[in-house]
């Protein structure tokens, strides 16, 4: 039951992080969005056996965590729901791919193991980069950036409202499950027999709340399009930030840095 309260709280904490006044929060949202997309594209484009090529890409999240003053631990904590899924997908690679690649002592490292590790790394990088984007920008500014990219406003509004309604759904679920647990103190979970009526109740309540919120928006002139906070103009430092990261990503993608480093060891 407490998990739902925590989930709502975590979303609010994320929103709060985005409202802070750090240097990275001040970077233009479009710049941060482009950097994130290019980073993820470069990271996932590596060959499934190219573990060493992927390693240097860790530099981006590490620097951003430092600049934004966000602890890696808190990020991992928030991603712990999705990370097992990423691991699960890669789990079958060692079963199907037995191509021997190299040996560590007497242990043969197969292609399946390496591809599993690269898959997990790619997933983790993508999740961390997305988390950092949301935590340093906020969903409203991300949507503003998407609008600048001329994404259809109906899609942008859908993204924004979906994000907003997650908290509505979680709050309602929390209220329903709390009411249940208070009257069923000896049970650890919800009895399977009443899952149906509970979910139905949750659906109706969420729809009602969502309807009220939508009414509130309509009454204040909403006509299907969000008008975001003041338009932000790109400054010189935004360009420096953008081109520096793009340069680093392209260099890391094209040059085998770890190969050069091997010379020193």
């Amino acid at each position: 039951m407490g998990k739902l309260t925590n989930a709502v709280y975590e979303i609010h904490v994320l929103d709060e992080m985005a409202e802070r006044d750090t240097g990275i929060n001040q970077v233009h949202p479009l710049v941060k969005l482009i950097v994130t997309v290019v980073y993820i594209t470069c990271a996932v484009s590596f060959d499934k056996y190219n573990l060493l090529g992927l390693l240097p890409f860790l530099i981006y999240p590490l620097i951003l965590f430092e600049l934004a003053g966000i602890s890696i631990k808190s990020c991992i904590k928030k991603l712990k729901v999705v990370l097992p899924l990423v691991c699960f997908i890669g789990l079958f690679n060692p079963v199907f791919d037995h191509t021997p690649l190299f040996k560590i002592g007497n242990i043969i490292i197969t292609g399946g193991i390496i591809s599993m590790v690269t898959l997990i790394m790619k997933g983790t990088y993508a999740l961390m980069a997305s988390f950092l984007l949301v935590a340093t920008t906020g969903i409203e500014k991300i949507c503003y950036a998407l609008k600048l990219l001329h994404l259809p406003s109906i899609i942008v509004t859908q993204i924004l409202l979906t994000y907003r309604y997650i908290t509505v759904l979680l709050s309602e679920a929390n209220a329903v499950f709390q009411a249940y647990s208070l009257r069923a103190p000896r049970e650890n979970g919800v009895k399977y027999k009443i899952w149906g009526s509970l979910i139905g109740q949750l659906l109706f309540r969420s729809m009602d709340r969502a309807g009220n919120l939508y009414d509130s928006m309509l009454l204040r002139g909403f006509q299907g399009e969000f008008y975001y906070a003041r338009s932000q103009k790109g400054s010189g430092s935004d360009y420096v930030y953008l081109f520096s990261w793009l340069g680093i990503f392209i260099a890391l993608r094209l040059i085998n840095i770890t190969g050069y480093l091997k010379v020193f060891f």
Partner: protein, 262 residues
């Protein structure tokens, strides 16, 4: 020549029932006639209290006035403009509506963004938006909450911020649905003082008869979807027999403390 408006709101023979298989409302009232032949009008910039027991149609009446329910029969005029689907944008620019539950009113991250939501939708320049937001927050005495995250606010703060969201749109009329609900005495007092200082046409639906007594010039008593009595606040709220006949009681301040009955 400036046109003087005498009746900001005019309802002529309003009847309303929720559709039996409405797609959006899951209400116990489906199919039941909620309002029957309701007619009234406001006179100048007055404050009107709408009172009545639970389920008599107070909230529904307010929802009709802002066009949230349109399948009514009869005629509703807001500043002489009939409430129809076509006229809604114009009507809604003139009316501010306060929801019973502030969590339904506030949906942005911060107070500033929520109060700015309305003015931005009406295409105002950001400078003008900021002016309006600060003015609304100033009127409600909550400028210090400007950048506060809404989820961190108390019920009283949320209510004040909710009223600020409607004031920022600079309406002529404000409709308030149970504004004092869930407020502690201090916040309730602040709300009453604020309502009395606002120079708008006000329609306040509430069970809090003490608040109605302190804020409204006139009262409309609803029961079973009909207007039972309409008149000067003090006259109606002092009528013990009338109030008790329709599921209400005298306001606390008029009752006097008679000790706990055992």
């Amino acid at each position: 020549m400036i046109k003087m408006i005498q009746h900001f709101i005019e309802c002529r023979n309003i009847s309303f029932s929720y559709e039996k298989f409405s797609q959006v409302k899951f209400s116990y009232e489906n199919g039941k006639e909620v309002l029957k032949d309701v007619s009234f009008k406001t006179d100048g910039k007055e404050a009107v209290g709408i009172i009545g027991a639970n389920g008599v149609g107070k909230s529904t009446l307010l929802r009709i006035l802002v066009g949230l329910e349109l399948n009514f029969t009869g005629e509703v005029l807001v500043e002489q403009i009939p409430v129809t689907k076509k006229s809604l944008p114009e009507i809604r620019s003139k009316i501010g509506y306060l929801f019973q539950d502030s969590d339904n009113q506030l949906f942005n991250q911060t107070v500033y963004n929520d109060v700015a939501f309305g003015p931005r939708n009406y295409g105002l320049e950001e400078e003008e938006v900021e002016k309006r937001v600060m003015k609304a927050l100033g009127t409600m005495g909550i400028t210090h909450l400007r950048d506060k995250q809404i989820y961190k606010m108390s019920g009283g703060e949320k209510k004040m911020a909710s009223i600020a969201t409607i004031l920022a749109m600079e309406p002529d009329i404000i409709l308030l649905d149970e504004p004092s609900i869930a407020l502690d005495p201090k916040n309730r007092r602040a709300l009453i003082n604020t309502l009395n200082s606002l120079d708008y046409v006000k329609l306040i639906a509430s069970h809090d008869l003490d608040m109605i007594l302190e804020t409204c010039d006139r009262v409309i008593l609803l029961a079973e979807g009909r207007i039972i009595r309409e008149g000067i606040t003090e006259l109606i709220l002092r009528d013990k027999e009338l109030l008790e006949a329709y599921g209400l009681e005298l306001p606390l301040c008029l009752r006097g403390y008679q000790g706990r009955k055992r």
